[in-house]
């Protein structure tokens, strides 16, 4: 539980360290640095100074095209999806008061996956441009089921939300497997989506996603102080005048919308929403006004690195970013957890 003492103590121990806002700035700079560093990494290698020049249109036509049409959308998408998933994860962890919560386990990601699998395999003649929509609807639907099942006597306790979320996740997963067995031909395409990848991105998708992120993230940040209070416990929050159930419902809805939108374009990208808030918290403390942007930065960094590694590891084969985040993230997560707080 993130108690008030924890908040003050974590900031207090950093009396001699730079204040959170400066650290936030450092994170943001790191994002840009890494983004530029991974520019040009891939099957077609473009060396560094040329890569940045190509961004502005100087260089061979090839280089400019590769950088602008392929690398740039992916990097922008990494920013968007990293931000979306990380912010969503932070909200989940705060509202559900559990450091292991994330949109993944609330049934959203698997629900979205189910929507996609359904569309791809049961209605293969439908336009593929409906895939993001199917993912989005699937995620929301799963969330609705979770919320309704967890709702009892006017309240949804965090514990129940988590458990029902886990159950719905498992249920979706089992239905997905059944559909995949039944329609074994299309497994390949579904599988690529299910693993989470930034590969088939283009600028139009970037614009669509940025619309979502630009609308929802500020809304979440606006709730920052309320999120701080909710972290103190239901009773205390009530006492301080915050409408607990309504805030919980609203912020979780925002988190789910964000996560669904991200999953819709990037596939089932797990783990970012779980680990980014943790790393961010170590850097800037638990005040949401700073934590949320920091988590966004960390999420972005994670995806930038994962996508870069995926592109450059074994060209021309691309390791899906979703797989790299897991492969690198889990050992790092365990390492982080083994150190004392």
């Amino acid at each position: 539980m993130i108690t008030a003492s924890a908040v003050t103590s974590s900031v207090a121990t950093r009396k001699h360290a730079p204040p959170p806002s400066v650290r936030l700035g450092a994170l943001a700079l790191a994002c840009i640095a890494v983004a530029l560093a991974t520019l040009g990494v891939g099957a077609v290698r473009v060396e560094q100074p040329r890569a940045i020049e190509a961004l502005f249109g100087h260089g061979t036509i090839d280089q400019v095209r590769i950088i602008r049409d392929y690398e740039l959308p992916r990097i922008l998408m990494a920013f968007l999806v990293g931000t979306g998933l990380a912010v969503s994860g932070t909200v989940c962890q705060s509202v559900l008061r559990n450091p292991l919560a994330a949109p993944d386990i609330l049934g959203v990601v698997k629900g979205a996956a189910l929507g996609v699998v359904f569309l791809l395999l049961v209605y293969p003649t439908a336009a593929v441009s409906y895939l993001p929509l199917a993912a989005f609807v699937g995620g929301l639907f799963a969330w609705a089921v979770v919320y309704l099942c967890a709702y009892r006597r006017g309240v949804t306790t965090p514990a129940r939300l988590v458990l029902v979320g886990v159950a719905v996740t498992a249920l979706c997963e089992s239905i997905i497997r059944y559909v995949l067995i039944d329609q074994s031909q299309g497994i390949g395409t579904a599988l690529v989506w299910l693993t989470g990848s930034l590969a088939a991105t283009d600028m139009s998708r970037v614009w669509e996603t940025s619309l979502w992120v630009a609308v929802i993230v500020p809304l979440v940040v606006a709730c920052a102080s309320r999120l701080d209070v909710i972290g103190l416990g239901d009773d205390l929050a009530h006492g301080l005048g915050v409408a607990v159930e309504r805030t919980r419902w609203f912020t979780l809805l925002l988190a789910v919308l964000l996560a669904s939108a991200c999953v819709a374009v990037a596939g089932s990208m797990l783990f970012v929403g779980l680990i980014a808030p943790h790393i961010a918290r170590r850097f800037v403390g638990s005040r949401h006004a700073v934590l949320l942007p920091a988590a966004a930065a960390v999420g972005t960094l994670m995806l930038l690195v994962a996508d870069g590694v995926g592109r450059g590891a074994d060209p021309p084969v691309e390791l899906p970013a979703g797989m790299v985040t897991v492969a690198i993230g889990v050992p790092y997560f365990v390492y982080v957890l083994s150190r004392p707080l």
């Binding site: 099957a43 077609v44 039944d182 088939a200 609308v215 809304l219």
Partner: protein, 341 residues
């Protein structure tokens, strides 16, 4: 709840915009087998996911499935980029011998768009099932034609060959090659007739791909069985109607199902790692009660050739092997002389 209204409104707007931008499902276009009087300049080629306008002779071609590579080299066209799963040995030796050096563009399931773009192709040939989700991105690189390879029986695959011929402006050459293929198939049929003393092959053959975990049968809707049926070796009657999609050409069989089906001839392709179920089952006494086992009509064939390749030369090689295995007859598949057209 003003924020909520804003969120829902933007949702509706996005939906409306997405629907209005007319990205409807690509419609299947009717097959046009004619070469036409002059196809050397601008021509429209109809693929499964839509038509494409081509000018002049296409020289730089990227092929994303093995069957396309096979068909292309038959008319003397060597693609500059091939999705070979990063493993050149997956292309059958007969076809590899005819290929000039090429660039690998990665996995068939998710080819590397950057690499494809850097090759500056003037034509991309994609699979209508596998690449349906990246079709749009491929079209942005070069004129793209989608043909059925994965989901295809033998005769329709020849339509794909003709369309390929049209696309690379070697329509006449392809038609001639198909005539040669017809003659070879006639030889095969004649050999089968001869071996069965004019009565025709009455026994049924089952083709299955076997791993350590499953016994996966290819039904008569799939490539190899329909190919064999075309030269007079009927496929085992194993069509299993399944609830959602009658056309699923693969399905899983247990040992008892196999015994119950009791095919006269069994063609097994083993997928590593060994030992597969076939290796295990062939040791047990029940397996020996199979008609095919008692009469020594079980043949192990190469998975890569029989299951993955699916092109013109692959088809001829498969038939050559089948006739040789079943009847001990060697039918040469050297190309017969056909009047030029």
């Amino acid at each position: 709840m003003k924020a909520l209204v804003v969120v829902l409104a933007s949702f509706t707007v996005t939906l409306a915009v997405g629907a209005a931008t007319g990205r409807s499902a690509p419609r299947a276009v009717p097959f046009d087998p004619s070469c036409g009087p002059s196809r050397t300049t601008t021509r429209t080629v109809n693929g499964t996911l839509g038509s494409v306008e081509l000018h002049g002779t296409t020289k730089r071609i990227v092929a994303l499935e093995f069957s396309f590579v096979d068909d292309l080299v038959q008319v003397g066209v060597s693609p500059i980029g091939i999705a070979d799963d990063h493993d050149p040995s997956r292309i059958i030796p007969e076809v590899r011998a005819k290929l000039k050096p090429y660039t690998s563009v990665g996995l068939r399931q998710s080819p590397n768009l950057e690499t494809i773009a850097s090759l500056h192709p003037d034509l991309i040939v994609a699979d209508a099932t596998r690449h349906v989700d990246i079709f749009r991105q491929l079209q942005a690189i070069a004129p793209t034609i989608a043909l059925d390879s994965l989901k295809d029986a033998y005769l329709p695959s020849r339509h794909a060959a003709v369309v390929l011929g049209q696309a690379v402006n070697k329509c006449g050459g392809m038609v001639r090659r198909l005539k040669q293929d017809n003659i070879i198939m006639k030889r095969m049929r004649a050999a089968v007739m001869h071996a069965t003393h004019g009565a025709g092959e009455k026994r049924q053959a089952m083709f299955a791909v076997v791993t350590a975990q499953v016994w996966n049968v290819h039904s008569s809707l799939e490539y190899a069985p329909s190919l064999l049926a075309n030269i007079g070796i009927p496929s085992a009657n194993v069509r299993a109607p399944n609830r959602s999609n009658v056309e699923n050409p693969y399905f899983v069989m247990s040992e008892e199902d196999l015994l119950n089906n009791n095919p006269d001839i069994l063609l097994v392709a083993q997928s590593p790692p060994l030992p597969t179920l076939f290796g295990l089952w062939s040791k047990d006494p029940l397996f020996q009660t199979l008609t095919a086992a008692r009469l020594k009509r079980i043949y192990v064939v190469n998975q890569n050739l029989w299951s993955r390749s699916r092109g013109l030369e692959a088809g001829e090689t498969i038939c050559e092997q089948a006739v040789h295995l079943l009847y001990g007859i060697y039918v040469p598949i050297t190309l017969p002389h056909v009047n030029g057209s």
